[in-house]
Symmetry: C2
Subunit: 249 residues, 2 copies
């Protein structure tokens, strides 16, 4: 057991002094958590207006909770007008603008696009450069397979989105720094709805695949400069597309 002698520190006389470090703990039922998770899938763009949710029984099975608990969560979102529930039919998404009140919603609503973009540029520049020098043959192979799968998704933008995320995470993880990899993954996730709308635009999937291919070639060549260049081109395109979509929104 690791114990070490250390100087006697003055213990706070008032218990509230350190107890306040904890602060009030938000009370969250399973229903609340599930409502937030469903909400996150909606705000992040996985489910759009008009889309049907999986059946209550399927959600309950997947999340390993009772159908009652799922029903409670769905009722919460239905009460906010986010979901539309009709007996005998699948529950559908009515709106995607969800009130910001859960811890996860901090990520989606709080940051402006410019800040997220600037942070992404800073971090991914370093991540991609490191990845280009450190990636293994196995890592390259995974990236290549991901590209093939992406090519198969030309007619299915939602499926492409899943492959897109996999491709980016593979890149991040190749950099050898788990801290930066996780930060980059979080920043990617912030922009998921933008990505979803972007890939729905005509020709967008093909353009992204081209960008990914350029990144892959730079990785294959183990060329940090080329990798940074290719990623900057890709991210600038994402940024411009997102600004256009937001202006139209």
């Amino acid at each position: 057991m690791n114990t070490q002698a250390r100087p006697a520190l003055r213990r706070p006389a008032d218990p509230a002094e350190t107890a306040d470090l904890l602060g009030s703990v938000p009370r969250q039922t399973m229903r609340d958590v599930i409502a937030q998770k469903l909400g996150a899938l909606i705000t992040s763009g996985v489910f759009g207006v008009g889309d049907e949710l999986p059946a209550e029984r399927a959600l309950a099975e997947a999340m390993e909770v009772s159908r009652d608990t799922v029903r409670g969560a769905i009722q919460t979102l239905a009460g906010q007008g986010v979901l539309r529930v009709v007996q005998g039919s699948r529950t559908t998404v009515a709106r995607t603008d969800i009130a910001v009140n859960g811890p996860e919603s901090r990520k989606v609503a709080q940051y402006d696009l410019g800040s997220v973009h600037a942070a992404r540029l800073l971090i991914e520049r370093q991540v991609i450069a490191e990845a280009a020098t450190r990636i293994t043959a196995k890592g390259l192979d995974r990236l290549a397979r991901s590209l093939v799968m992406q090519q198969d998704c030309l007619a299915d933008p939602l499926r492409f989105l899943i492959c897109d995320r996999e491709f980016h995470v593979l890149l991040y993880r190749a950099c050898g720094n788990p801290v930066l990899a996780d930060i980059a993954t979080d920043l990617y996730t912030y922009q998921l709805e933008a990505r979803r709308r972007a890939v729905s635009m005509a020709g967008a999937v093909q353009t992204s695949i081209c960008d990914h291919r350029a990144i892959f070639f730079a990785m294959e060549a183990r060329d940090p400069e080329a990798a940074m260049q290719a990623m900057a081109v890709h991210e600038d395109r994402i940024y411009q597309t997102t600004k256009t979509l937001l202006a139209e929104g």
Copy 2:
């Protein structure tokens, strides 16, 4: 309400296909959450071996839960040998190596020191440069006041730690990019235990204050290069001190 026509995507035929996006939801009672929060304060170094926790009643009041719930959380940690509970006496910390199982513990235990340091250097270099060009007169004033408070804490390293964190967060928030500010704050928090042990060493508080003063002068001069230089010196010292402590641990 923002609704937009979008291409008809192929809806997953198998409900499990999208339900699986959610995955099993970890069941967390208030007792679990509170145990994790207390654990986080221990692993992050706020409480060390031998330190007394606030009384159960004080914790209950601060976190706005019942004393029973707090007792349950404490029992959990006592069962792991982390806390020592004796009737009539304050609960004390017996060990600080807590089993990694909560979402918050991912942050403390998962990353190696080198990765956190490299990530911090990358992000804080950019943050401090931006802060040097953008900081307001009010911001400078707050930094100055923080320095004065730090000087008052020479004999009280634990109090100094609180001021240290405030100083760093003030710097981060001055950069104008909330995403980078939050990331930098998270990375600072990762190293809290190391900071706590470091400030307990003889002369460490004074050395940190000197570093902080250099950073402040660079901010006052609105000199990004000087600010980056001063921060790099400060972080390298933290890094070397932490490695020494870990080697001794």
